[in-house]
Symmetry: D2
Subunit: 337 residues, 4 copies
């Protein structure tokens, strides 16, 4: 930690800061700059609330040197975490393809989607059953009835399953039915839910928040891992920016960057990121080229009748074509599919 | 609702869209533009998932005409909602001043803060007891023990009290101790929590999410009101933008705008918005000048020892000065304080 | 400057960095952290391209301690710069009110606006003559003919005048007619124009770019001042964020912050910031409460017939009311108007 | 164009709007909604300043149906524009690879870079000679001397050349030396420069502004094309968002989207977008997978000695490896390189 003192800080102010640091167990080293004093403090940053240092008279700012996340950090653990779920592998050489409808609507709809995505090469079936919707007047999901359908459809097609959970109760119920629990973008900093996710015995798919920095996203993963669950799969799904011509802005640089910062697997959701069916194929290919470990894609037997997110859902033929075009690309970057 | 067809849409595609609209009970009217067809559809938008229209062949985009929120809309209810809590009034002519520490730490700290803010003119005491922290290694709050202290300090000073709740359990417990329940920025789209807030018998202080649009913020309020609780106080606390010289970007235009869109009261949190103690005074004055119905300000007896958010907390002398300087300004814009 | 070495940097890499720094005249000081080496480097940062240090093997990042701007920095010059233009004063105790139409359209239009704003208390007349328009098919301004009208209207009403310049030629021509030259948001980092502005003998009104950080904005001012022109007036006019319910997001915290960072005057443009006539009054009051040294407001005799920016223009009656309501507020914050 | 009237608009207000529209030559059609009137107006939008309609009493908002760009629009011209420069082709099946140093520094540096990128397969040499720098104290470029070196290096290696121009003079001079003129991100809305670019007889490389929407970017291209120059190459180079872990946020969805909106070629600059050398390879591959027509990449013989942008520059070996890994990927998406 480096403490930059103000231009006109007094010797007494500098001493006060030094004393405070030493009380907290830091070793200090003074750097006399051209115009100001800078204090290097070596020790355990957990032993002090660094932000309060910034309130001490004479202090201009505090620069933190160490990354705030530890257990998810690649510097701590070099080898990739691989999360194995049924036939799917997240973080290994083979790409994990998750696909299915935004929401479980009916048995017919779900089975049609499940069979189509299985046939085209997906290994995990997605389906929303507890839906976080912007409007209280929109369809909110079939809840446990949907989970039941999802588990059946998974069993029949041999696909692993994933669904979003939104609170303690939905997490408890869903953990009985599905293989992977998803924490959605809007709950990425629902810290209670993150702690509970650390105590559950299922892998967690952790979506990046709409306006979460890479560091905050990794800190959310740190919450889960430090609470006891190492099987975390990160998912980039677009961030909110000034650009409105796509639903969100897919941040593929973050995918390549995160692979250097953490050992956890990272997949990409091009459906929510773009909000436009016609861009999903190109962004799927770009994601794999950027180094993503997999994809999660919305597929609906009839997008024009979908109860949610129709405009970004592929129909079975479109998904089949996407998978066929993805194949040579995966090979070109040294991955299997 | 207006449906814009593509340049080269076929008569058959246009007919399909019309049929779909009519099946859902819409009356339609065709506008033959210079180059393309535009369809006006009159009816109840709830009766169709409008986004699926965009997936129909030949459709370019769908423009929505009506606002998606209803119960919180000023067009529906013209007169201001006034939320009365103890001596405080949110939305009336008198400004509501909420103040106190970021987190309840000890009895001494809380009582010192409570006495100071009461003396300076605040009418509501804030104090965090369930703290949503970015890092799992940071202080997480005293929970029920903190609520107990908060209730006592409120009773002793005659201040109403407010604390943040983060899940069903904290909401249930906090409702027994405090007068106002706060839903924080990171939970603004925790729709489960919003529904629960609609069923509780206490006013809700609803902070705007870091990257929530004004419309999404009002939709979050709509969740609460449509679930049965009309006593919602909105709070602007800064949005996330590219600018990092302040912690967030305080969006005062949104305050003025929201006062025209809804009948609910709106207050401003200059402490979280700026993250800098030296800007809190100026932004408090600006907020009141912009039309805010009140302020929520972090005050700590000794900010340099605070367990959280020290750099943005005022000490009692600074808060006292803020209140004194706010007084003539409130008068100048026709408000009492 | 502080250089943070990577966890696993080798002694040789550390020595290479030290050698490079010493060659450039820096004095170095090593801080042995718990896990990594940090190097403090004291000297003239101009003597090295610091970013290249980040490319040296073993270096993780370089933290800059000093602010990159010098001449505009309040640490360098404590007292406020006051720019005097005719009866207007920017940066003194009296607020400077600039008003007038977005674009000079006709003599009648301009004179009507000039008389109205002068009568209501403005001291500077604005009027665009070289208009930067998003579309090549929109009205582009009357150019020199407009400047001629502007100078006449100013002379007749006793108002100083300001117009936007967009390149060397328009700057050269406009300098002959008007009192203040404006550099618009889209040209804030047109560094050629900034250097030219440094050589002209007129005050410069420098608008903040749509996505410029506070530091970049001050660096743009540094370009002008370091090229020889000390009379720079900063103008906050809203930044681009995800929020679209207002045209831009007015960043009043930046105004309060900038007043602590620089000695230059800062005014606010609530018209462009909000894009909505009905918010201009509230944001004018908020700007003054936040500490702005003045305002620039669009006023048109008949906004519904304006050739540009009608929706955000006030008519004379609305501007008159704005000025009347601003008066007690200015007094309340210790300013004259 | 669709005009939405307010809930409580009066018959007289509606008639006034209709009259205004009819005076401007529009045919109108009224839609009586459940609660409000919506007016469809068919005609030439150029004949009215639509935004002024929004200022008319009773009008809530105006929705524009048509895209504001015409000549660059794919609906107007279906076939791809291919810009041929020397051996390079922008917009054809073969990818165009532009590479070279951020700034031309010395003959040795430039020649070393030119030979290296030519050998690895680039067909265009980049090199900055008029540098827009955030700080007035940074290296500003060799100007004409640099252009001379660039032209020589291009001639010797058989590479076409590109450099950035920043004003009328640099454009005039550079047009004598290089094959492609670049308009940088900070000048994307320097409309004077865009018009001049329309009159020059060289292809223009138009970078997207830091905070430019896709529509604004295409409107900037429209300025150039409508001024007479059809040879415009678009370049996505990252947008400014809240995320600071990369220099900018590379918006590859915009690349895929823009290919559907315009017939112009689009390339990607992964160097400026990420600001990090270690991400350039992955983002180059992702860009090609997303459908980009080419890449522009910074290569320096010794990045640690570069006068600008060292951290994002590749050395020759890194660029060579990038090209080798790009090859199978290009083939996988049906492109040549």
């Amino acid at each position: 930690m480096v403490i930059v003192m103000k231009l006109n800080s007094s010797p007494e102010q500098i001493e006060n800061v030094n004393n405070r640091l030493q009380e907290c167990g830091f070793q200090i080293q003074m750097i006399q700059g051209v115009k100001r004093i800078v204090i290097g403090a070596v020790g355990d940053r957990q032993s002090i609330n660094t932000s309060t240092l910034e309130t001490m008279p004479g202090v201009e700012k505090v620069l933190r040197i160490m990354k705030p996340y530890k257990m998810v950090c690649r510097e701590v653990r070099g080898e990739d975490t691989v999360v194995q779920v049924g036939a799917a592998e997240f973080g290994g050489n083979r790409l994990a393809i998750v696909a299915g409808p935004c929401a479980v609507e009916t048995k017919e709809q779900l089975y049609a989607a499940a069979r189509a995505v299985q046939k085209a090469g997906a290994t995990v079936l997605r389906g929303g059953t507890y839906k976080p919707r912007t409007s209280p007047y929109s369809f909110q999901g079939l809840e446990e009835e949907g989970l039941h359908l999802l588990a059946e459809a998974g069993a029949e097609t041999g696909l692993a399953t994933v669904t979003e959970v939104v609170d303690e109760e939905s997490m408890r119920v869903a953990a009985r039915y599905v293989d992977i629990l998803q924490i959605g973008a809007r709950n990425m900093q629902n810290f209670r839910l993150l702690r509970l996710a650390g105590q559950v015995k299922k892998p967690i798919l952790l979506k990046r928040g709409l306006s979460a920095t890479v560091e905050e996203w990794l800190m959310a993963a740190e919450y889960i891992v430090s609470s006891g669950n190492e099987n975390v799969i990160l998912c980039e799904r677009g961030i909110r920016t000034f650009e409105t011509s796509t639903r969100n802005t897919l941040d593929l640089s973050a995918v390549a960057l995160v692979k250097t910062l953490t050992h956890l697997p990272v997949i990409v959701d091009p459906s929510h990121a773009t909000g436009k069916r016609e861009l999903v194929g190109a962004m799927s290919r770009a994601a794999v080229a950027a180094g993503a470990d997999g994809l999660i894609i919305e597929v609906h037997p009839d997008p024009s009748m979908a109860l949610c997110d129709g405009p970004q859902s592929l129909n079975p033929e479109e998904f089949d074509e996407l998978m066929r075009r993805l194949h040579p690309l995966a090979v070109a970057v040294g991955r299997e599919i």
